[in-house]
């Protein structure tokens, strides 16, 4: 067994710091400035000291004038603090050409052919020799990649003529939402003149925010001052609101967080409970029948919309990022001038960030500016369910925006939180001939190792197979000590770096859907590799990589002769109902 001794020690989180080593003086300096100055170092445990976090989870980056710091729609995993100079947040989308996104390269015909030819006959063979230096890397490739491709926005003033932008000065934070909610960047940020920024990787940021309110408040205040208005503008009725009224709305917005950030820990007990108990354990955001107190905007995560039915609750829909709850009641309350009660409950599924706009503010600053027929129209258009006054389709429970999927299927998808899946694998068992062509295709494209199991929870004839769903909220990433599992910056695909995976199985245990499999790795000769110290076989985490390097996309879907298998965004009910009714 030639490569038996390669892995000597399993890397841990801080074995390799985030960037060029921070010196003690650098940490001292950071501790002199806000928000770090207000953080109480006493509240951190000895194993995870404040200094340690700053030293290991942060790095200082220099940017020349016009350099891109983060790019809209990239999946980032760190937040930034301006130390010197200025950063410009460009809110309206910049043209793709200036953003310099690298083109994805796919193998051609010959390369594909060779690949199948060379597939080893034994499972889980690794051809690369893993050197210890390969085993650890920092998990934020974003900055490196942007620096490598050297994206500069040359003529900044001209470009910005047509875009709205906000300038951030020393002491201001950005990028924390994308980093913490594992979601895409909402804006591009450029260096406005030469700038020096502190970059904090999300593991560190999360530990800081957990132990101190100061940082959270600091970040919320900055968000309110900077990006909140953009988000509000995307809300129905607020798009055209005169600036002074929008300011008033922004000032009154309340931030709330519901549910557990690490919700995967409670998923197992949650799904094994009877449905009613599981439902009751979901944190309540708004209760059906409570007086209408304004609007709730979902900032990130998912929430379940339900109403009383018989002795239980029936799910009507689920809301995701950017959707609004309570608009109908809120408008109705103004129209009838008497208290209106919420027609449905809103509950957090997993971890949800919401914004609340109080009813008085909506009344005084939004509705007073709009004629009644426009209000009625908006209420109908954005109705998620019928209120007494506004019902777009009498007799139906849903309004215009959401497509209908039969309730039991909806309950199933919501209860099991499959709605988290951006690329879930659905198999239509009414069409699937169980021929396993999909499995063989997956194996052929992955060194003879199928990366999914054609089995899984089902509802009626719809089965959600055990294939990684490339979730909107990939909780599998949370605990990975080396950052081996992460999102591809451009595509959002959740990938495992086989070289840096240390086989600790944290991701496999964290994936609520059981879609990561631990395997025993073999060397090129086919022998199982062993850890030199523990004498245990070396394990690697494996899962579907969505065939990112395949010219035709997901091989499983492509290989199904009977149109029985699709990869689908379950956050998009329209797509689902379309597929169901082919």
């Amino acid at each position: 067994m030639p490569q038996m001794e390669v892995i000597a020690n399993r890397p841990r989180r801080w074995d390799v710091p985030f960037g060029d080593a921070m010196r003690e003086e650098d940490v001292d300096k950071l501790l002199q400035i806000e928000p770090f100055r207000s953080i109480d170092a006493e509240r951190f445990p000895a194993t995870l000291p404040l200094r340690g976090i700053l030293k290991n989870d942060a790095r200082v980056n220099y940017y020349p004038d016009g350099a891109i710091i983060v790019r809209e729609n990239d999946y980032g995993s760190s937040a930034f603090l301006v130390l010197q100079g200025r950063a410009r947040v460009v809110l309206a989308g910049l043209p793709e050409e200036v953003l310099g996104r690298p083109a994805q390269t796919k193998p051609g015909f010959l390369k594909s052919m060779l690949r199948q030819w060379r597939n080893p006959s034994l499972p889980e063979v690794r051809n690369q020799v893993a050197f210890e230096s390969d085993l650890v890397s920092n998990d934020s490739h974003e900055v490196d990649e942007l620096a490598e491709t050297r994206v500069f926005v040359q003529d900044v003033p001209r470009l910005l003529e047509n875009s709205r932008s906000v300038v951030l000065h020393a002491g201001e934070f950005f990028g924390e939402l994308a980093a913490l909610t594992r979601s895409p960047r909402t804006a591009t940020v450029l260096a406005d003149g030469e700038a020096v920024l502190l970059e904090l990787r999300w593991q560190g940021l999360r530990d800081l925010m957990r132990r101190t309110d100061a940082l959270r408040q600091h970040i919320e205040r900055l968000y309110r001052d900077n990006s909140l208005r953009v988000h509000l503008r995307e809300t129905p009725l607020l798009a055209q609101l005169p600036t002074e009224h929008l300011e008033a709305v922004a000032a009154a917005v309340r931030f709330e967080t519901h549910g557990d950030f690490q919700w995967q820990d409670t998923y197992e007990p949650y799904t094994s409970k009877p449905a009613a108990d599981a439902f009751a354990s979901e944190p309540l955001i708004v209760e059906e029948g409570s007086p209408c107190e304004g609007l709730v905007l979902i900032r990130s995560g998912f929430a379940r919309l339900s109403h009383h039915f018989g002795n239980g609750h029936r799910t009507i829909a689920y809301l995701g990022k950017g959707q609004v709850f309570g608009l109908g009641e809120s408008i109705e309350q103004v129209a009838v001038e008497e208290p209106v009660r919420a027609k449905a409950s809103l509950r957090a599924l997993g971890h949800v960030d919401v914004l609340r706009i109080p009813q008085e503010v909506m009344r005084d600053h939004v509705y007073c500016n709009l004629p009644e027929h426009l209000l009625a129209e908006a209420a109908k258009k954005h109705a998620l369910y019928c209120t007494k006054h506004f019902c777009s389709q009498p007799g139906k429970t849903l309004g215009g925006e959401q497509t209908q999927v039969e309730t039991p299927l909806l309950e199933f998808l919501v209860e099991r939180r499959f709605i988290n899946g951006a690329q879930a694998m659905l198999v239509d068992l009414d069409r699937c001939t169980r021929c396993d062509d999909c499995v063989r295709a997956c194996a052929a494209t992955h060194n003879n190792n199928p990366r999914f199991i054609r089995h899984g929870p089902r509802h009626g004839s719809t089965m959600v197979a055990h294939a990684c769903m490339h979730c909107v909220d990939p909780v599998c990433m949370i605990g990975c000590p080396t950052g081996a599992i992460g999102r591809d910056m451009a595509t959002g695909v959740v990938e495992i770096n086989d070289l840096t995976c240390i086989g600790c199985s944290t991701c496999a245990e964290s994936c609520p859907y059981g879609n990561v499999r631990m395997v025993e790795a073999r060397d090129a000769g086919g022998a199982i590799m062993f850890d030199e110290v523990t004498q245990q076989p070396i394990h690697k985490a494996t899962k579907c990589d969505l065939c990112v390097d395949q010219p035709m996309g997901p091989a499983c879907q492509h290989a199904c002769p009977h149109d029985a298998l699709v990869r689908m965004d379950l956050g998009n009910l329209g797509e689902l109902s379309h597929w169901m009714s082919r």
């Binding site: 015909f109 594909s112 052919m113 690949r115 199948q116 068992l429 009414d430 069409r431 699937c432 001939t433 169980r434 021929c435 062509d437 063989r440 295709a441 052929a444 494209t445 054609r454 089995h455 089902r458 009626g460 004839s461 089965m463 395949q550 010219p551 035709m552 091989a555 879907q557 492509h558 290989a559 199904c560 002769p561 009977h562 149109d563 029985a564 379309h578 597929w579 009714s581 082919r582």
Partner: protein
């Protein structure tokens, strides 16, 4: 996503149009040259190669082919079209020579197996989906022996706790053989619920002679008999789906070989055009 209905309409129309053109072409050849067999023969052989190419496409999923589902659509409509082409080629008469008859039989068998298989692949999945549990074919033997073990343990436990042997005897006589062995070939040809119904009826009959403890176990056995029957149904149906394709594919290559030989021979006898 196109709906299945519109896809069917589109492909069927296309097939009819292409066939009409082919018929027109052969008629024209007949009028001008006197015989069209070489023309139709070449087209027929080419389509057969195209149909067989689907096997290669399935074997090499790493190559940038069109999707397998598109291939199957093309396969089915082209294959249906070959029936007309075949008819034109043999001038709607039964062939007489040895080689020709062999081809006709092979072609006929491949064609019929294709039709039967298509019907099965479109009807069996829904029947399987109605069974409570989805099972992977390769796991069925393992699941069977698990069921057998569970049944055995439940009965042993009942005998131990109740001290009575009524259920135990019934089990070893009637149920154990059912759990332990696999179904007869007749079941695979035509799965049915006769045995399941009979065993469940017998169990129900037994119930009146059982002690309370045994009766509880009896409930477990009810469920296990049903699950075992579901497993057998899956085994039989999935086996059928695999076997037909195996047969269909098995007929394909001899057909191609014999058809190619026939083409060569035809040229030789035609005056050595080769």
């Amino acid at each position: 996503m196109k709906s299945f209905v519109s896809r069917r309409l589109y492909s069927a129309t296309l097939m009819v149009v292409v066939l009409a053109l082919l018929v027109y072409w052969t008629l024209q050849q007949k009028w001008t040259l006197g015989h069209s067999s070489f023309g139709t023969g070449y087209v027929l052989l080419a389509t057969l190669f195209f149909l067989a190419l689907y096997n290669i496409r399935k074997k090499l999923p790493v190559l940038p082919w069109a999707s397998s589902s598109d291939w199957l659509q093309a396969h089915v409509y082209v294959a249906l079209g070959t029936a007309v082409l075949f008819g034109l080629h043999v001038d709607w008469r039964l062939p007489t020579g040895f080689l020709e008859s062999t081809i006709a039989v092979l072609y006929g068998a491949t064609f019929v197996s294709g039709i039967v298989g298509l019907i099965w692949t479109r009807t069996i999945p829904a029947k399987l989906a109605r069974v409570s549990e989805e099972v992977i074919y390769e796991r069925i033997p393992m699941l069977r022996s698990q069921l057998c073990e569970r049944a055995q343990e439940a009965v042993l436990e009942a005998v131990r706790s109740s001290g009575a042997t009524t259920l135990g005897e019934f089990y070893s006589e009637r149920l154990h053989p059912y759990f332990e062995s696999s179904r007869r070939i007749g079941y695979f040809v035509r799965p049915n619920s006769r045995l399941r119904r009979r065993l469940l009826a017998e169990l129900t009959e037994m119930n009146r002679y059982l002690s309370p403890d045994e009766r509880e176990t009896c409930e477990i056995l009810f469920a296990l008999v049903r699950r075992r029957d579901d497993l057998d149904f899956h085994a039989a149906m999935q086996w059928r789906l695999k076997m037909w394709l195996f047969l269909h594919l098995g007929l394909t290559y001899p057909l191609l070989a014999v058809a190619s030989v026939h083409g060569l021979v035809a040229h030789l006898f035609d005056g050595g055009v080769l």
